[in-house]
């Protein structure tokens, strides 16, 4: 899972039928403090995240493992809205 910030919505009228009714959000990868990184992802929203939300994004085949995304041709899903990240011990600072 990676940290991301929702920065926009992706609207599409012509798409794979298995994507019908799914909300696609444009996300920018961030570190654990919310500082933006370089990578962007289009992810299916499974938790009613809004623009600006600090979220956890799951990618790859694991992204299909929710009722919302079952059997859909997707490789990224927003699976949690983050309230807080608490660093308790020393590790490498960047994620």
């Amino acid at each position: 899972m990676i940290f991301a910030r929702v920065i926009g919505t992706v609207v599409s009228s012509q798409k794979d039928p298995n994507l019908n009714g799914k909300k696609l959000l444009l996300c920018r990868e961030v570190d654990h403090e919310g500082n933006p990184l370089k990578t962007y992802h289009v992810a299916v929203d499974a938790v009613q995240a809004g623009e600006g939300s600090f979220v956890l994004l799951s990618y790859g085949s694991s992204a299909r493992m929710t009722d919302e995304t079952k059997n859909a041709p997707i490789d990224a899903v927003i699976m949690a809205i983050i309230d807080n990240v608490q660093i308790t011990h020393q590790g490498r600072s960047e994620l």
């Binding site: 899972m1 493992m65 929710t66 009722d67 949690a80 990240v85 608490q86």
Partner: protein, 90 residues
């Protein structure tokens, strides 16, 4: 499977229902002597094994979903063992 040390906690109240009751941590991958080996990552702890500061064994990729009872959860990494001690012969 890799060794890691729990270095942080991720609090999230809005989660997909597959993840309900499952805690999430930040893990720093380490070697058997505790040296840092890779960048930290976010893991799920479906069995409630870990706590901050603990050394654990975690799995990544599709295998991480198998740590859940029905093998069905949108996770990329899961804690599967809590390490008591490591005996190394080298």
């Amino acid at each position: 499977m890799k060794l890691g040390r729990v270095v942080g906690v991720v609090w999230a109240s809005g989660k997909v229902k597959e993840m309900e009751g499952c805690r999430m941590y930040i893990i720093q991958p380490v070697s058997s002597d505790g040296a840092i080996t890779e960048m930290p990552l976010v893991v799920a702890d479906p069995k409630g094994l870990a706590a901050p500061g603990d050394t654990v064994v975690f799995v990544t990729s599709t295998d991480a979903t198998q740590a859940f009872d029905n093998g069905y959860a949108p996770v990329n990494a899961s804690v599967v063992e809590l390490v008591d001690r490591i005996s190394s012969c080298i």
